[in-house]
Symmetry: C2
DNA sequence: CGTGATTTTGACGACACTCAAATAAAGTGG
DNA sequence: CCACTTTATTTGAGTGTCGTCAAAATCACG
């Protein structure tokens, strides 16, 4: 949980061609010339588990692309409660293109993370120079709004078991952009994180998971490990209209 | 509730200078030259109360700027439930810049509405030609994501009375971009709409409102009329960190 | 192996949902 | 303009799910 402004900062000589972001994230939409410019502006870095990338209500300095690892985003409210606004993984974007903005979430690494960082000003300037890039990001932002609508429907209407089923399914699909779907999930977030993400309590999350287990829908060999045994049943229970698909998410 | 593709379509000679959108919405960020182009591409229209602007899962043809009136956005789920994803008013944007996309919400006018319409392709092209416009929209989209986070916190954690208090306060502030805050609200949406927006039932909404009334926080002379009698108490009850501010919202 | 944190399980209560009915409001036709 | 119908809103009673509090079990880490 210790703050890590920037450690193990690598040189800017990242190989963009082999980067996940160049395939699935916005990096793929600026052509060869843009990719060269992008490489100049970007800084590769590795943050250890527990490292904090941005503190709630502090000045936003960078925009990041997640290359590897999982990040959790949360906000501490005045009444002492905590809201987990999302989880980020490979290909996802962290930060706002707005200049002189303050982050409204704390971003904490749940695992060791590799990231590609841009100074906000550089990023903003790039968006002005590459309209295609700006449009792609705009599309991603609109998709994110739609995703939030889904989450709102989940948290506002569905009950605990359904929320957990949907959560697990989404986790399984979100970062599987090409390869086969992963049915064995490593839950790098705690029960409390899941609870604060789904609008439940730790106890309700635990009970819901146990119910799913007893129904034979999932296996929980360890608390941090979930094996999805019956995807159709999980989907049916979750109430999701369709299987969640891989997508690029935005954390702010 | 009848579908109205496009009625009372006006000429393109709308006076942008006097339009609310030119002051508060994205129209103000494209300079004199852009505003002229914008006027050429836009079509002014008036839709009666109950008119439907876009049907869920149908091809998106236009992007609209709301000039006058209130619009509700909702989605019908497979399990028969309905999710109201938002309400739009003057200055707000309806539609996605994505080409060949399908709307995922139905947009229905709660009052007679005046709108400024762009064909999606034209709108998309404008975004390519005016990077500033694209950036402004991008900023608005990011703000919308943050607003959805607020809504998630409300629906996921707060109880009925708090949700209603927050809802009323937000309604009172959202479209008061310059003028004084309105303490007398015309609730153009039904209790069912509010319920489906806040993740409650009609009965719970009614009961919560009656409780607020008995506490002297609001007056309800008619079901469609709410007079906010004690703003600080409402804010304190709502649990909102700060008074909601006017903003441009996005409906998709 | 021992300590502290996390997770699970249990008992109980509160808030919101469900079902049902009464009241109020809005729309319709004479 | 008024009786009538239809819809929307309010009120009531009972139930269920999830939150709260508490304790046990398990896990992680030094």
């Amino acid at each position: 949980m210790h703050h890590v402004a920037c450690i193990q900062r690598g040189a800017a000589r990242t190989n963009c061609e082999n980067c996940v972001a160049s395939r699935i994230s916005f990096c793929s939409h600026i052509g060869r010339k843009g990719l060269a410019a992008l490489r100049t502006l970007s800084t590769s870095m590795t943050i250890p588990k527990g490292g904090v990338l941005s503190e709630q209500n502090s000045a936003a300095t960078h925009v990041y692309v997640v290359i590897k690892g999982t990040i959790k985003l949360y906000r501490l409210m005045e009444d002492g409660t905590r809201q987990v606004t999302g989880f980020l993984g490979p290909g996802d974007l962290l930060g706002s293109p707005k200049i002189h903005s303050t982050t409204h979430c704390t971003a904490e690494c749940l695992t060791e993370c590799r990231l590609c960082a841009f100074r906000t000003e550089s990023f903003h300037q790039m968006l002005r120079e590459y309209p295609d890039l700006c449009l792609v990001l705009l599309t991603t932002a609109f998709d994110e709004v739609e995703a939030q609508h889904e989450q709102l429907g989940l948290v506002g209407r569905k009950q605990a078991d359904q929320r957990l089923a949907a959560f697990l399914l989404t986790l399984a699909h979100r970062w599987q952009h090409n390869g086969p779907m992963e049915t064995t999930l490593h839950l790098s977030m705690s029960r409390a994180d899941i609870a604060d993400y789904l609008g439940l309590t730790v106890e309700s999350v635990s009970r819901a998971l146990q119910r799913l287990k007893q129904l034979g829908l999932v296996d929980l060999p360890k608390p941090t490990l979930a094996h999805l045994r019956n995807l159709p049943a999980l989907q049916s229970l979750s109430g999701l209209e369709e299987m969640p698909s891989a997508r690029v998410s935005i954390g702010i």
